[in-house]
Amino acid sequence: MTDAAILFDLLLAGSVIALAIASLTVRDMFAAIVLFVIFGLLSALAWVRLSAPDVALAEAAIGTGVTGALLLKTLHHLRYVTGKLGEGPARGLTPTAPVPAGVIWANAAFCGMITLGLALAFLGAPRSGPGFDALVAEAMPASGVDHPVTAVLLNFRAYDTLMEVVVLLAAVIAVWQIERGLSDAPAPALGEVWQGFARLTLPAIVVVGTYLLWKGSEAPGGAFQGGAVLAAVGLLLLLSRIYVPQPAHRGLARWAFVLGAGAFAGVALLVSGGGRVAFEYPAEHAYALILLIEGLVTISIAVTLAALFHGREPVAAPVPEGRNDT
């Protein structure tokens, strides 16, 4: 049994490495992105093998799903601005100058040395040593939730998570600023089958996202995984043009961006005082407070990720119609 599992591990590890190399060497950029998505999903599978289902869910939903959508959207935009829309393989989108072989070899040697150092450090480091498991297990009863990863994210190391939400907020502000005045690539016409698919899956995705959020207090799942799944709702709505971003909705979107970070910081400050520090939730309300924060952060993450996918801030100028990609 163990041998079969190890064989599976070796095969999976080999596939992950091969896919990483392939996604950087294949010439067609679209193929590179697809290979990267497969790479991400197989990495998530490997993390399930390492008994890290939370991380695997986050990687599959955010690191692979949303990132893949962002990359494809950018590829579409680059093809549009370079006038290569509707062509087959996408090669050489950026103007390139030949790199001297010496530079490549120097880089390779440099990377090789770093890798060798890392590998030696990894092999020399004590593995499976005592980490924070005992500390976390000891503090679990006071955390208000039953799932250790959620307890660490929302309670013990809540500062990190707050900063993470702020980073997302900063990213969406930056993207809106960078893309100001940029012209939109025409949305691809996806056809009726896609529309039907979107309508069929939308309600199911809403249920799955909410379920992941709710389940996060006792099992793998939580605000980030749920938020990413709900962001898929936004992606479907945008791609199927059921929802077209309106300038009038900007105010609402801004509130949604700030909601998570604001609620998080607000709760942290409210519970402080009376001898407690920020994020030291009173034990009897800890579960309710964590769920409240998670719920609002989930909404924020979903809206922010969908906005990052859409890119440009919706502006008053009407999008010129009839400029289709066919």
């Binding site: 992950v16 990483a20 939370d54 991380v55 680059l78 660490v152 930056a174 993207v175 980030f224």
Partner: protein, 97 residues
């Protein structure tokens, strides 16, 4: 041979591939892809650090760190891609003039 050894070395290899790619790739999109590979490689090493042989539960703290890392990486990727879109548009406009 144990899963943590296999996947730990896998993570380091993926990190190295990403590093070479980020330094040598010509296409901007591919450079972002390479940096993303680096982050996944680092994630591998952290998840391996949290792993304990099966009956024991893994350490939740590195898991939380990796989840944070994934979300930060998607933010950074989104900003990088927005910069690429902007840059490419400006270059295309220059070519037209």
């Amino acid at each position: 041979m144990t899963p943590d050894l296999i996947y730990g070395l896998t993570g380091i290899a993926v990190f190295a591939i990403g590093l070479v790619g980020a330094l040598c790739a010509q296409d901007r999109l591919r450079r972002v892809l390479a940096l993303k590979l680096c982050s996944v490689g680092a994630g591998f090493v952290l998840v391996v650090a949290a792993w304990r042989s099966p009956p024991a539960d893994p350490d939740p703290v590195p898991h939380a760190l990796v989840i944070t890392g994934i979300v930060v990486m998607v933010s950074a990727t989104a900003v990088a891609l927005a910069l690429i879109r902007r840059l490419q548009t400006l270059e295309a406009e220059d070519d037209d003039d």
